[in-house]
Symmetry: C2
Subunit: 896 residues, 2 copies
């Protein structure tokens, strides 16, 4: 087993492809060496060795000692120096480096090889006492803290004390003697704390450093970082042992960090910082203010063009924007590291588009480089990064799940009614609820943002807010909301109605007061790249939209139709004439309370014109694109009031005894409403509801057709589980539709299809397809039932299932990213069986997963015709759909 | 298309196999004719003709008129008489007859062919004026009511008036003249009501009668009967036109109904009733008291031996007990009808066993003749059939779903506590609740019967009661239960606590007061036949039992192990020492309220000895048979009190602030508890619960082994959905088990398996089987999730789905009889995939379906190792398992 890889003098055993084994840094150094860049020589101990080390109680493979010895000898030969040598000592840095960047998470030791003898040699050879003793004290400090674990603060305290004694302020003012004195103090401290002398033997130093780097892989902060960033499947960190070069040998030396393009805007400018007479950590530490690269160009006119050359070479070689570290040692440039540079979402688009236009990458590669979150973050306001962290910490009230990104502030309100009332006065409000229900939709709509104490990323609040791209934080478990007194408590703070609060939906944090927000702008490159994606993708992208407003928004986002219009929100909210909402609510409630079919029909007749107008508006907005309208889905109890005052009010308004209302509400209560009397089951019991809705759809279509608007309504029956059940309802739908067509003498083409959201429907899709003209997978419910998970309740335990540190059963929350293994199996079966009966069956998805990149790719792979996502997720779906095609090609290419 | 089938003079066009087309009666007459019995001649118009009639707006096939004419001519030839003839008229009966017996549901017209001329001929020829005019008035009466639909009561009124006028009491005392007078009045009435003369033309009469019989198929009462009896797939009724023979021609004539064996006991005695000088309807009407057959033997010494001969011939021919109708016309025996006789459950067993012993049928046929409900009804008390119906009607309070058969009375109580308190004083109680929850189990256990206002056949109340074979009526929707005032209202009656009520669980009716009940005895033939079944069946039969008491009961019922022990009931009820129940409840509640793992462990430590004793008791009772113990399954909120008084009490007892209790209870509330934090998800969050339970199981096993009792514990982890999830828990289980084995140095063999009750688990059964040593399909939950049906809520709409008159989507309630198509598909997949990984994987079922005959047969067909049923359903499972083998053989036989 080869554990150590050498690089130096233009040759390298590893290369840039070997990230998994050499880590990003090691692979980069090997690759840079190979392509002829000036790179200090060294060797990399592989991540496989780290894995061995961690698996074997922190011991090394047997061969390692000999390998390190051999490579060290080779390094000494290449550099012409010897580790610990009293005449011309070799100094090395020992750095961690994993396959995926984990900035600041693991350890580095510089200037290793210095001891009481070699420091003198270094002083002699550099003719710089001060430099040598500064280097030595840096090494002793790092070794003491990183390898041995002594307190950094205590050492810093000694440094401060020494400077105070000497009356100097900056490190640069400390004379050689000061550093020498400090080294002595450090060593004394070391002995006091460890009972041992500070190691003189450079090999002992080296092994200590290697162990420290390996060990840092499992340090709490590193483990947490990987968990948060969802970094899994890595073996460990590599250790890079590299010849030290010094940027702090005077005015002809220096060190810098640079990006081949501007990481903020993506602009084609060479972007970076340079510090004269400094070591790398000085740049990172941010104590001295570095110069920009153009200043450096003036200061080092010979070196800068070399760096420019490297920049071009690297971009050409790596075909991506690079983030490089370099050092200039007495006028000689050394490249220390290169990696793909992090960038803002706007820069991501700009760089991808520019590079494709430059011919550096293909358009497909450009598409492939955009990530889901790059799009997410483009659209939403954010907390101004210039707001001091301390200020934020002081303002923090509660934290929860960042259900919908973005940021917003407004005055706190605790009821939907109050939200509407205050919004009507022009106030910005934040709606804070324990949880939300369809009754709250009006208030949610007018709010700047929504906070709930309960629920997960797919709770009612999250789903509705996501549809509107409205900042939303759910599951703030420490937030104690008291409706009666209209206050919320958390973190020792109290929010009263009317108090300003700010939501950071990116982080899931609620702040008190108004925190400064900024709104990013959509870069031009965004629409360029999305246009490219549209040309590549094969699967359609529709949107979930319940209002003309949403429909328009979704069209702007590139939606090619509506995959899901939920009609139930319309029962509560008149989006065009909000003042008419009350009439709608009353009509639906009257219908529910009614005890005879005749009374129900009477109430439904009142709703008909409203629904017709709703549909008409959506048809107009989609102007010829298909519109899928789902018939009423939620259980009726969601539409009736549950508190006695409102029940009394309702009874009075519809002219029945309050007991009738109470009894009916009680009757409607269900133990498990998710699996209860809802979806098409309502239409089996109350066919008149279906009849009203179908009539409204058809009449709206007729109205539009008469105005010359093209309309393609797709009537979708939810929650079907059986062919016979669906047939009854499809027949009823066609009866009403034909009646409207006969009455109006306007021919309307329409489809009648169903949602596949009950496992049984997927299992029996061949039969279902006999009567359904299209399928739309309702993956929210299909996930709930296939996995036996209530999405409203799963917050109690699902986090444990996803948390790697706890059970770690699932890689992702199955309500965010489709569970391909289980739920996906049913989807595959459903598609296969459905198309067996009806080969051209149109199949889509309208669950939340339609806006999740990984899930969209799955939908492409299994052969769906389209996905449907909430308006703000439409671009993600468009991109992912294109990436799916590209991935498929790549896979096929590999097979060949 | 042949629509008419002739029989007579020893020959018949049809035969006994043609029930579907000729109806039971027609096929019987044809068959009896063929085997040489004395049968009056006639012809049968087929059910296919009825189907045509109903499908074609009550018109007949074109060919029918000619066919009827031809067959009528043939009949006239065979009998030597002519319909409507003025000299020797042929009289016929016109009767309905469907493929399945629907007694009293459809229509009959006798003496057709009489008119003002032929009645005179009949009088002449029979030398019996009175007989002829009586026959004529019977015909006019039947024709008027059955064919024309005139009021029966009005005609009866005229009959009564005539008798009053003549000062006679019984019909037999009416002279010829009286009947003639009445015929006149009837005809006048007919004209007044219809505007037409009563038809003289016999062919018009005949067609009127045919139409009436066909039409009666869709009469409300017939449709209802078929729905209730689940009779589906029939074409309609046949019409039998048969030569009239008269039992009312004097002392040498008569009519009778008899069974070839005693339908009550199954005894081998010829059993029947005979009326001298009477027509068949007189026997059925029950106005005159008939003589028993042995009296008839004395009265008609020549005819009786012929009847005895017929009896033997019929049993030999039909190989089953027959129910026959016959008439003796002036000393000549005519067989009018034969069919398989209805019998009591006890007789069903007796006859099957006797016939097998007699060699008339095989043992397998004997097994195959027992139906699920024959067993059901064997075990339970019933309302004494001698209680007058009127008395019952007056006592009726409410009706609901007959969840568990049987009957019981007791004093009404409305809380489980009160039930326990009163039962402790030796009172019989009936527990009446809106719904039940695990907290009520103690009270349910001591009650004689249970009534709930809500819920369906698989609600908590129904499932628990069924397990104990305890009479239970659920879903009494009109029952208004007021807990506070301790009363229930329904049907204008009020039940107060302490009032006597009687439940008829067979019919689902609640009566006020104490209604007389009788307890059927288990016939010896039962155990004989069940023994035969056990030899035939291949699949094991276990039981669902939670207590030693249930386990003993189940062993008596023939269970070969326990397939499901639910441990949650044990948390509420100490079945051995009821007074200790409170301690258990407190411990589990303390565990739930605890805020740290340490506190939870402390509470669990208190539960450990109880659980150990529970398991030990069950192991003892099963004495070497395998015992499957399911770890805690229900969501924790089911274990905590929801009303403030009890919460305060709990807080006081466990020494925490009541706010802590309230908050915890609120936290535990779930929107959809079925899909929530329950099953093995509890063990993922709280591994200490699993650890306590596994320890209790293993320590109990050790205890038993030390006493020399063989123990095979099978530890079952509920609600698994993923291999990784299950592996975590299997590993934890094994760790604890091995620890106990090491501590005690007693080796215990045990298995660790899982329930397959989430669709995903079935879909991924191959992976699950890598870590599970057995599967038990939890088909209650699997049905809920696969079909998206909450069994607690489905009562709202599922009846519509099963109701043929409404949607009629499912043939059966899927919670009673497994949905083979959908849920069954997942089960097949689960078994196939599971055995692919682990070929000898032990697989069972422990849902309610394990006690349903059709579902047990499915389990056999898909290759399960065993089914598990509640104790009282064990015999049903044993029988069905045997029948499955027999059906399989028959199928294979057919294929060959």
């Amino acid at each position: 087993m080869k554990y150590v890889y050498f690089f130096g003098a233009g040759k390298a055993e590893g290369d840039g492809q070997m990230k998994e084994i050499l880590g990003g840094k090691g692979a980069g150094l090997a690759e840079m060496t190979r392509i002829g860049l000036p790179v200090p020589a060294g060797f990399t101990i592989s991540t496989e060795c780290c894995d061995y080390y961690l698996q074997h109680k922190q011991t090394y493979p047997k061969s390692l000692a000999a390998d390190v010895k051999k490579n060290l000898a080779r390094l000494e030969k290449v550099t012409g120096k010897k580790l610990g040598d009293a005449k011309d000592p070799l100094l090395v840095s020992v750095r961690s480096g994993s396959a995926r960047s984990m900035p600041g998470m693991m350890e580095t030791i510089l200037n290793l090889g210095l001891n009481s003898k070699s420091v003198e040699a270094l002083a002699r050879n550099s003719k710089n006492d001060r430099f040598a003793w500064d280097a030595y004290r840096r090494f002793v400090q790092m070794y003491s803290t990183v390898v041995i674990g002594l307190s950094k603060e205590e050492l810093e305290e000694k440094l401060r004390a020494m400077k105070t004694r000497r009356g100097v302020k900056d490190d640069t003012q400390v004379p050689a003697d000061g550093w020498r004195e400090l080294v002595g103090e450090y060593k004394e401290h070391f002995k006091k704390k460890t009972g041992k002398e500070f190691p003189e033997d450079p090999e002992e130093q080296l092994w200590g450093a290697i162990g420290a780097v390996f060990g840092s892989w499992m340090a709490e902060k590193a483990v947490t970082y990987r968990r948060v960033e969802r970094i899994t499947g890595l073996l460990g960190t590599a250790v890079n042992v590299v010849q030290m070069v010094f940027g702090n040998l005077g005015e002809t030396s220096g060190t810098g960090v640079c990006f081949t393009r501007d990481p903020s805007t993506g602009g084609k400018t060479f972007y970076g910082d340079f510090l004269i007479n400094a070591q790398g950590e000085d740049v990172v530490a941010g104590i001295r203010t570095p110069m920009h690269l153009d200043e450096m160009a003036k200061h080092m006119p010979k070196v800068y063009p070399q760096l420019e050359k490297v920049r071009k070479l690297l971009e050409k070689h790596y075909r991506d924007m690079q983030d490089m570290e370099f050092t200039v040692e007495e006028g000689t440039l050394y490249m220390l590291q290169t990696r793909v540079g992090k960038r803002t979402p706007a820069a991501t688009f700009q760089i991808a588009v520019d590079m494709a236009n430059e011919g550096l990458i293909t358009k497909e590669e450009a598409i492939d480089r955009i990530k889901e979150e790059d799009i997410d973050r483009l659209f939403f306001p954010i907390v101004d990064p210039s707001v001091p962290k301390g200020d934020l910490a002081k303002r923090k009230i509660a934290s929860g799940i960042n259900a919908v990104p973005g940021a917003a502030y407004g005055k706190a309100v605790f009821t939907a009614e109050e939200a509407e009332a205050m919004a009507a006065k022009g106030e910005k409000v934040i709606l804070i609820r324990r949880e939300t229900s369809p009754e709250d939709v009006g208030g949610m709509f007018v709010a700047q943002g929504i906070v709930t104490a309960t629920g997960g990323k797919t709770s009612h609040a999250a789903v509705v807010a996501r549809g509107w791209g409205k900042c939303c934080i759910v599951g703030c478990e420490n937030l104690d909301v008291e409706y009666e007194s209209k206050v919320a408590h958390a973190n020792g703070k109290t929010i009263r109605e009317g108090d300003w609060v700010t939501l950071d939906g990116n982080e899931g944090i609620v702040y008190e007061g108004q925190v400064k927000l900024i709104s990013p702008e959509l870069p031009k490159a965004f629409s360029t790249l999305m246009g490219w994606a549209d040309k590549v993708r094969k699967i359609g992208v529709r949107t979930n939209a319940d209002t003309p407003h949403d429909a328009v928004k979704a069209r702007e986002m590139g939606a090619e139709g509506i995959g899901l219009t939920r009609t139930e929100h319309m029962f509560f909210k008149d989006f065009e004439f909000p003042e008419k909402s009350v009439e709608r609510q009353l009509a639906i409630q009257e219908m529910i309370i009614a005890e005879t079919q005749a009374a129900r029909r009477k109430a439904l007749d009142k709703l008909l014109p409203y629904q017709r107008r709703d549909f008409s508006g959506i048809f107009k907005a989609m102007d010829g694109f298909p519109v899928t309208i789902r018939l009423i889905d939620p259980p009726l109890h969601e539409f009736v009031p549950h508190d006695i005052e409102k029940q009394q009010e309702l009874a009075r308004k519809i002219g029945v005894d309050v007991e009738v209302v109470i009894r009916r509400v009680e009757q409607l209560h269900e133990a498990n409403p998710m699996l209860g009397h809802r979806g098409c089951r309502l239409a089996i019991t109350y066919p008149e509801i279906l009849e009203m809705q179908v009539r409204a759809i058809l009449e709206a279509a007729v109205e539009c057709k008469k105005k010359g608007i093209k309309v393609i309504p797709e009537i979708m029956i939810p929650l079907a589980m059986d062919r016979k059940e669906l047939k009854l309802l499809v027949d009823a739908t066609n009866r009403v539709a034909q009646r409207v067509i006969q009455e109006t003498k306007v021919k309307v083409e329409y489809l009648v299809g169903t949602m596949i959201e009950i496992p049984r429907a997927a299992l029996l899709a061949d039969e279902i397809a006999e009567v359904a003209e299209f399928f739309s997978f309702g993956t929210n419910d299909l996930t709930q039932m296939t996995m036996g998970l209530s999405r409203d309740d799963a917050g109690r335990f699902l986090p444990d299932y996803v948390d790697e540190k706890k059970a770690g059963i699932f890689a992702n929350d199955p309500f965010q990213t489709l569970d391909e293994k289980g739920v996906g199996m049913l989807i595959r079966m459903g598609i296969e069986k459905g198309r067996k009966t009806r080969p051209k069956l149109k199949i889509g998805i309208c669950g939340e997963h339609g806006g999740d990149a990984a899930s969209v790719k799955f939908c492409h792979r299994v052969g769906m015709n389209y996905v449907s996502a909430s308006p703000f997720r439409v671009p993600v779906a468009r991109l992912a759909a294109a990436q799916a095609v590209i991935e498929e090609k790549a896979k096929k290419g590999k097979k060949k």
